[in-house]
């Protein structure tokens, strides 16, 4: 019977000492590396301070103080391609929200991300510059003009 064979195999694997490594699924690695910081202007302390305030008022509840999110519910903002990658896509997550199955580091999330179109363009630029340079992220600043451009596209 098939099952018996499989128990034997499993026993062999443990014998081979592979139990710990094989038990856990390694998290899927991010495909794209973060953009090089050197090509980007450093984000000023002033922007970081303003962005942190916006983060604490509007994002922290779901994405948590350390940007690690809530397993299976709200995704992390630490080292995700959504955060450090394409700025247009990132700005649109905040303006329009997100409610579709996305995968980050092998995980999926059941909550919806509400639209934050009620935030001012400057607040969005600040908070996104903040998250792109917090929680171990290092990526370029999001400018007011970039947020305005995406906001205009919505009209």
């Amino acid at each position: 019977m098939k099952r018996t064979n499989i128990f034997l195999l499993a026993g062999c694997m443990i014998l081979a000492g592979t139990i710990f490594s094989s038990f856990e699924d390694a998290p899927t690695q991010q495909k794209k590396p973060a953009r090089k910081a050197s090509t980007q202007k450093a984000v000023s302390a002033e922007v970081m301070k303003r962005g942190k305030k916006v983060y604490e008022s509007y994002c922290l509840a779901c994405h948590q103080a350390d940007g690690t999110g809530v397993p299976n519910m709200n995704p992390p903002l630490a080292k995700t391609d959504w955060v450090t990658g394409n700025k247009k896509r990132l700005i649109n997550v905040v303006l329009k929200g997100l409610d579709e199955e996305i995968e980050i580091q092998g995980e999926y999330f059941s909550n919806p991300m509400p639209a934050h179109a009620h935030l001012k363009d400057q607040e969005i630029a600040d908070v996104l510059s903040f998250v792109r340079n917090s929680f171990g992220n290092k990526a370029g600043q999001v400018s007011l003009a970039e947020v305005k451009a995406e906001r205009n596209r919505m009209k």
Partner: protein
Amino acid sequence: MLKVSFFVTVFSGLVAMPALAGGSGCSDTSLLATAARTLVASNAASEIKVPAGFVAGIAADGLGNARHIAAATDGILFVKLERLKNGKGIFRLEDANKDGVYENITGFGNYGGTGIAIKNGYLYASSNEAVYRYRLNEKSEVLNPEAPDLVVTGLLDKRQHESKSIALDNAGNLYVNIGAPSNACQLVDRTKGSPGQDPCPILETAGGIWRFKADGKSQSYADGTRYATGLRNVVGLDWNNEVNELFVMQHGRDQLSQLYPEMFDAQQNAETPAEEMFMVKEGADCGWPFCYYDLQQKKKLLGPEYGGDGKKVERCAGKEQPIMAFPAHMAPNALLFYTGNQFPAKYRNGAFIAFHGSWNRAPLKQEGYYVVFVPFQNGKPTGNWEVFADGFAGVEEVKSPRDAKHRPCGLAQGADGSLYVTDDVKGTVYRITYKG
């Protein structure tokens, strides 16, 4: 829809071990048990704090997002996974040598989900939109792993609060939670300034418990009854055989201070609203989305989306009141009435509740991540709740949920009266026994 090729092992390294695939020179299955015992010795069993006289060990580990668990009368366990692991959604666990470590683990079922239960020789399991059942033989082997009966189908799954927890009574009925895909039925969910909908259209197909025939085929909304309503999301529920009634644990609403900062501060948000336990009879209305329970004021209050101000009661006076309320946001994910003889008398007919642990207390530290006990007699609590098993998180303080190494999610009473607790972070199954 279901296509399961055959039973496979949970060990994901299998295909990567061609040298061993022949199986030659490795014919002693007891090696597996030995290795598993080593695993226990080196694992976090001792980190779980239980009352004097109890012992917590690890029955199995590395099972993935282990959600609910069901125990058969002969000691076999079945664990439902939220996401497939190695292509399987249900694991069958067997402890052949009865040492408390479940060394024989096989998988079947190609759907993720939460609910699992055993009744009258059938194993019931749920995906996020359907309930299936499997026939078990006298050894609790699954006779139709590839072709279960489709008992219920077409239930609402809009990602949020998607799990369909199940319970069965003694009269041939199956109870299914259909969580509301919403926080408080705002026109635009979780969005500041968006009004609450009154009436709330979600309540027609979700936000309650639906009852179906346990032996029905392909039943959907039209074939079932909305048994109880006004329940935002229930993950833990159990049929109490002492009083023959359904008991449920509601996950209370989130984000009072984020949506209404002028009314609630971070501290109030962290402490409000309570997680509620209800005994629900047919037709019960537990109040969501209009009402929430304030643990400090010990009252059901009108939600701010519906004109509430943190004091007004209005229509909430007429809603079902909780039989017990617990601190906010702790996420009760499993409820089990203990009917065994192994534990001391105080535990008989009492309720164990597995709290998954909070996230919406941030920026304050998180709470929960433990199993509590509530003494009961004749379906009524006879004392306050107390922490029964703690230490799952494995850290002093959970600042954000990802700090927690394990989160309690499912409960089952074993044939010998042991209590099993599943964890959906690492897929650990704990076994708690009483040694005296």
